[in-house]
Symmetry: C2
Subunit: 211 residues, 2 copies
């Protein structure tokens, strides 16, 4: 356990501000009350040092003393293991948190990420778009059934909720939750948390400071 | 720690045989030498019991005594915590295994899964397909740089390699690794392991038995 340093870009264009994935990590750190500092790497020129920490040239990564971790899922899991505010202590609760953390990334975001990008690029009318719409709709239908019956995914609020809410946010931005009221309510509950507000404001301020 | 039961479909059509995600779990169980049995649920009619274990109506899930886990990533992580043949014991090795497990699912499969489906449905020529081709190509370019320099992702062979190799397999089936020789070599190394061969043969036999 060492000092926690979260690295993100020094600047990004307007469109992704508020959605850059360092937000997930900031949110978890704020929920846990863990002290951390934020470091920056250039958005425009990504060098060898960047790829040494994040082999896909993306952000964020987290260093915890000597350990450097990329992938927002792996970082949230690591922080969950540092704080019971982020992952319950009991075996069942820990297992549920982990499976929903993966589900957010692989069962929901695998459908929503290309869907969000298709919206962003204006790919609105094609067999490809139709397939992706149907794929996302089906996954959200199943999420709707789950979220209609529970406040948070794994019992108490956990990193699974941070991840799932942050995956739902860009879907909602393109009005993709119109027929998913339980998902919308869940997202509203999650983003009403003070730690989310702090994380979001900090990310916006970070990028604004570089303009 | 209890008896391990892996649940998959009773039957699937020809096309996905050999690619159903229970293979990842079978492979890990075979590598670790952990005893397990395989149970089936209907492919054609998915009931409440199925959704209670797997809220998206997919397979696989694993029960370990009283704990039931869905999401192949969460299952491999759970098994990694049961066997040092699947995840190294040291802190750095464990951290690396986890980040690459997430990377396989979220940095590579998030691009490859829709790409594979587009191939399957014959979506071969459109701006949507071009975007997806470029997205996957970029991710593979970064994987190529990583795999050119190492035998396995996290030092010794681990669940991260099982996941990454199994994510690369359907890409390779549609010739998507043509310009990625290090990825192809890595995939060949991984699938040459006896545990993969056993897992693959067992999955094929399982579905063939239901015809």
């Amino acid at each position: 356990m060492g000092d926690l340093v979260l690295t993100t870009f020094d600047w990004v264009p307007e469109a992704p501000r508020g959605l850059v994935r360092d937000l997930r990590v900031r949110w978890a750190l704020e929920e846990a009350g863990l002290p951390y500092r934020v470091a920056s790497v250039p958005f425009k020129e990504r060098g060898g040092e960047h790829f040494a920490h994040q082999p896909f040239g993306q952000v964020p990564w987290l260093t915890d003393g000597d350990i450097s971790i990329f992938e927002s899922g792996a970082i949230l899991l690591h922080l969950g293991e540092r704080s019971t505010k982020l992952m319950p202590a009991d075996l069942q609760g820990r297992s549920d948190t982990k499976e929903w953390l993966f589900a957010a990334l692989n069962s929901v975001e695998a459908a929503s990420m290309p869907w969000v990008m298709f919206n962003f690029f204006g790919f609105t009318d094609s067999p490809e778009r139709k397939w992706l719409d149907d794929f996302l709709t089906l996954r959200l239908k199943h999420m709707e059934a789950v979220l209609a019956k529970r406040e948070w995914l794994a019992g108490p609020f956990s990193v699974a909720d941070i991840m799932m809410a942050d995956v739902l946010r860009p879907i909602d931005r393109f009005d993709g939750l119109a027929n998913s009221p339980a998902c919308r309510d869940y997202l509203a509950r999650a983003t009403a948390r003070p730690a989310f507000g702090k994380a979001h404001a900090d990310q916006m301020a970070h990028f604004a400071a570089a303009d």
